[in-house]
Subunit: 310 residues, 2 copies
């Protein structure tokens, strides 16, 4: 059973109460705690030694990644991050300097986003290192972007460049919090998700729940230099386009927009974020499934997203 | 370095922002998100295989314990639990039924407290099982109980019975949420904490930060039957009183009250919670340090609380 199916099964009968606007299944939970004009976003995520990082990974980079993953989920809903709590389980043989380095990476990233770190628990771990982050944010109800809501004909957009994240980007990515806040203010997406499981996998999450599909333009997909370099230099690495479609941990935003807004969006984006790419990579279709248009031919997309729970 | 010192060092320079009423260092963080008359409580905790439970522990009991620990921390601040998110890391060889059992234990306890489970993440784990819970609750500012605030002369109270938790109580304890809500409504404690590290250790947390001490009456400490049985039947087990003072994971409430309210508190408690003990076990002193009064003699208390990070 893969990660998605397992989570789905585990949370199917999750208890709810009157505060829950949106429970499990999107990038964050959405809660109405009674704030006038604001919903609260609530999210947890974790990084595990041997899965998301190695013992040799610099501890500040592990902290950056642990916090950045939750920040990216906040961004995917258009949320403004507010505070976080951290749980770490550390093997007894780990030097204290490792934990201090971890927190240094967390602190640096938190400060850039005005995020408060308001609590932490530490346990020993007979196995490897485990770092869990839980985060709160807020969003105005009208600016809360969900995975659902896209319409056939909507154009599909992605920030940044994709693929080859394992070469380093997965440890030093910049969560797209500011970009998402700008988008939800000026070009409210009809649906949005952050790319953690690979473009193809996360696109399925964006369109799948509503029985829609998508058509991607191969030439429009922004392949990263890391993916090209890796395809050239690393035996067994996927071709650059395959890497951009299937590699995980890009932590970019994927969103759907009514097509008539494309020119205005591109112009305004270039002015506001001149050093960050924004690419129109395809469109939502009424027909289910993912298809790739390449050199004038359309073929079904059979790649699978990276799955942590393989 | 022990758990407390490490957490203290890691969170010393934790970034804050304008929402933070109380950051790291108490049972929960306290946030002012702009709700009229309510603060938000935010807490995380985790259970780790080989530290807090064993592979053979029934998975519903692991779920109960993971969620119950956070509920107990909410209780310690007088909070009403609202929602929680769960992160689990599971070894690949673990059967799916284990994860389903875990969530069954979580779900059952959540439903009893009207708590919504609003999100979950699952990762694989090359080491052991790890379950992290983050929880939100709310509390009226005037009813938020902290670890600080006790005064010399205050009487010290504890719910339930202490010691020998390892015999089973650590897996099936009842978080004192209802009791704490009743206390903060009718007999607002001057300071409160939940007992996770043992009476002696947590009492030090309650009085230590303000440079005060406490005197305990040995005969008044409610020793559990499990602690007595264990002292009798298990080679090397501590004497019953030592167990009640030092064993961890009782998950009872320890709180300070002005002494003049003792009779009214006892009377009202017995009516409201007839099957749960409430014991006056000593008093807060201006003189630092913990002392034990026993058979007419006063001696310094030299036991140490159970420390996870040993």
């Amino acid at each position: 059973m893969n990660e998605f199916a397992l989570i789905q099964q585990l949370t199917r009968s999750a208890p709810a109460n009157s505060t829950v606007v949106l429970g499990p299944g999107d990038d964050c939970a959405v809660l109405d705690l009674g704030l006038p004009d604001r919903w609260v976003l609530f999210k947890t995520d974790a990084v595990v030694e041997g899965v998301h990082f190695l013992r040799a990974t610099p501890p500040p980079a592990v902290g950056h990644k642990a916090l950045g993953r939750c920040l990216s989920d906040m961004a995917a809903m258009g949320g403004a991050p507010s505070s976080a709590v951290i749980t770490v389980a550390l093997p007894p043989d780990l030097p204290e300097s490792w934990a201090l380095g971890l927190y240094e990476g967390i602190r640096r990233l938190a400060e850039r986003f005005g995020l408060a770190i308001v609590g932490g628990e530490t346990s020993s771990s007979p196995g490897g290192i485990f770092v869990s982050v839980a985060m709160l944010g807020t969003v105005a109800p009208g600016r809360c972007a969900r995975r659902t809501g896209s319409q056939p004909g909507d154009s599909l957009w992605v920030t940044g460049e994709l693929g080859g994240s394992i070469e380093g980007h997965h440890l030093d990515f910049e969560p797209r919090v500011g970009e998402a806040l700008w988008l939800t203010e000026h070009f409210m997406p009809r649906a949005m998700i952050d790319l953690s499981d690979g473009l193809a996998g996360d696109l399925r999450h964006l369109v799948g729940a509503e029985g829609r599909g998508a058509e991607l333009l191969a030439e429009a997909i922004p392949v990263s230099r890391a993916a090209r370099r890796r395809a050239r230099d690393t035996a067994g690495a996927p071709a650059p386009l395959a890497a951009a479609l299937a590699d995980g941990e890009d932590f970019e935003l994927l969103f759907a927009q009514p097509p008539r807004r494309a020119v205005a969006l591109i112009d305004a984006w270039k002015k506001r974020f001149p050093t960050t790419r924004l690419s129109c990579i395809g469109r939502i279709t009424a027909e289910p499934g993912l298809r790739l248009r390449r050199r004038g031919k359309i073929e079904p997309l059979v790649l699978h997203g990276y799955e942590h729970f393989a």
